[in-house]
Amino acid sequence: MSGIPALPALPPRGAAARRPVRLTAEERAVRRRDYFSAILFMAPALLLVSIFLLAPVVYNILISFTGWSHFKGFNRFVGLANYRHAINNPDFSAAASNTVVWVIASLVLPVLIGLGLAVLLRGLKGEEFLKTIFFLPRLVAPTAIGAIWYYVYADNGVVNTILKQVGAGRFAESWLYQASTATPAMIIAYVWQTTGLVMVLLLLGLAALPRDPIEAATVEGASRWQIFRHIVLPMLMPTVLVVTTISIIAGFTTFDLVWVMGRDYPNPSSLTLAIHQYWESFRSGHWAYGAAIAVLLGGIALIVTLLQVILQQRVESRIR
């Protein structure tokens, strides 16, 4: 087998020799074989993802620019009409403002409570047991949780009964059906479910922190709060960032819980963007509009993720 390429004259011994990369025929053959093998290995994943995930994304974006509604107008290009409709649609605005509340609450509450719990539980006896208790709701499906909490909030449910028993019966409400209380009530159920996960993730992050800086600060006489604020928290930032991003995205896409607890839709008081998108697409047949909402949600998710990546790098370079 020939294939030794003619090489330029060798430079004198010891001199740094440089030349553009040129491979022998054998090397090229091996690389080709490797590339081919790699593609084969990636094929199942690639096929699944391209067909069922990536192609749909493209399709969705395209649809959002058509006038597709019920059975008409699939091929009618209407530009940004659907997006304009979204902005002007009162249902959309109600859903959007509810969703904002959801995001803020699902960001702040689980993280605060989770952080507090994580710090409290660190090194405590029975940490494992307590961890399990708080984490258990996470394993139960949101659907089941929604079904159970529906009755917790029912007119003769747990909350109202407790209120009546402590003599605060006048506060009893139809929690899930009133504009002002529907969303907060659902958020409480949501927080109940997800705080455990946030707490566990933060615990993992805390466990991974190096001990030396903390010990050094203790020796220098810093109070526990000072240590927490100035040392632990900054070092925990990367984990907090990851947890925050997950929480935000979960917050504005949460569907199962709201659907099951809300039940009578369209109900503006508890409407979220996720519900609104589903309802418009699959119950009202406004395909293009539903696609547009999905694109908006996707865009927000992308921005949030991007922000997280950027912030992550900055935070990590600061702790190095």
């Binding site: 090489l7 060798l10 011994r13 010891g14 440089r18 030349r19 990369v21 022998t24 054998e26």
Partner: protein, 368 residues
């Protein structure tokens, strides 16, 4: 039939040349040590022989067959890695057997080979253990066993002893040598430790910067280094170098010290710029060692001593630099004490100051 032949081997990584036009013939059954400083290309060369890397140019022959394009398993070689590379999830037995199973060998064959290798390496009691349950030395032996089992024509060792402590290293050196004597298979052994190379191999190949500096027996490489680099690399404590020039029939060093030119360099022209090399062995302390036949005496105060028990190393100033001498059957010596030394002129090494090449008359550099 030669064991391994390398012709015109080259290797480029990105834009820089790592191996330059290497030519090497290794006879069948030889124990060859590839030795040199980090980055000299010895491991790369070994890996190309193994088939783990592809050369950018040149051919590799094992026996009489051109194996340059063949995958590792089809070359009849076996390799022992620096980190042993044992499969952590398999027992010792499975580790030894794995290659045979991949090759489709029959059960009887596999059992026979594995049992034989295990016995030879005293692994028979450890067959059902996992690598994580073995000591460093035991893992070493399993790695060697894995190579043994393949019954290769060439054994390749990539710095296998670097991860062992000194005592274990010494013991394993003997084991490997004994193995080689029993099996008589060609061994190519890469190491950065020249002592290891010298004690184990019958042929030493010294490399630097992708070039082959010298190939020869340990004695040749020690007594007749082809250039300043090899001279300084082989031998511990290393040879000390002193610049000077030839004037008439002497060599004049930096501070004017003049030495009679010995026979093997008497042919040098007037004015030649040279570097003289002096090994500690060739500098005798008067009264503590056999005086050379043609001594050249000088006196110098002791700068530093390193007592080693059976001998003491003495560092003294010489020709505006420092020289080291071995003091046999030593007595306590204080720094500052003046001693009388004798230079063995017949054993000094002389190199060209610019090129570093040995100027010894009729000395072939030893390159094939």
């Amino acid at each position: 039939m030669p064991g391994v032949t390398i012709e015109g081997l080259q290797k480029w990584y990105g834009g820089s040349q790592v191996i330059r036009d290497l030519h090497l013939t290794i006879p069948d059954g030889a124990f060859v040590a590839l030795v040199g400083p980090s980055g000299c290309g010895k491991s790369t060369t070994l890996r190309m022989i193994a088939g783990l890397e592809m050369p950018s140019g040149g051919r590799i022959y094992i026996g009489s067959e051109d194996v340059t394009a063949r995958p590792p398993a089809k070359r009849g070689v076996a390799m022992v890695f620096q980190s042993y590379a044992l499969y952590p999830h398999m027992t010792v037995r499975d580790n030894l057997e794995f290659g045979l199973r991949v090759a489709g060998a029959k059960l009887a064959d596999r059992v026979r080979r594995v049992t034989a290798a295990a016995e030879m390496l005293h692994l028979s009691d450890l067959m059902e253990r996992r690598p994580s349950q073995l000591s460093g030395g035991q893992r070493q032996r399993v790695a060697i066993g894995r190579a043994l089992v393949r019954e290769p024509s060439v054994f390749l060792f990539d710095e296998p002893l670097s991860n062992l402590d000194a005592q274990l290293r010494a013991a394993m050196r003997i084991e490997i040598k004994r193995l080689h004597q029993t099996l008589r298979t060609t061994v190519i052994f890469v190491t950065h430790d020249q002592t290891e190379a010298m004690t184990m191999a019958d042929t030493i190949v010294v490399m630097r910067d992708g070039n082959l500096e010298q190939i020869g027996s340990p004695l040749e490489v020690f007594e007749r280094p082809a250039n300043r680099f090899v001279a300084g690399f082989i031998g511990a404590p290393s040879m000390r170098m002193f610049d000077g020039r030839v004037e008439q029939d002497r060599m004049v060093l930096a501070d004017g010290t003049a030495l009679q030119l010995p026979g093997h360099v008497a042919h040098l022209a007037e004015g030649t710029e040279v570097t003289m090399g002096l090994r500690p062995e060739d500098l005798v302390v008067e009264g503590h060692g056999t005086l050379p036949v043609r001594p050249c005496f000088f006196e110098a105060p002791v700068l530093l001593t390193e007592p080693l028990g059976n001998e003491t190393l003495i560092v003294m100033p010489f020709a505006e630099s420092e020289a080291v001498a071995r003091m046999y059957r030593p007595r306590p010596v204080a720094p500052g004490e003046v001693l009388r030394f004798a230079v063995d002129l017949d054993r000094i090494h002389v190199f060209d100051q610019k090129s570093g090449e040995s100027l010894r008359r009729a000395s072939a550099p030893g390159q094939t």
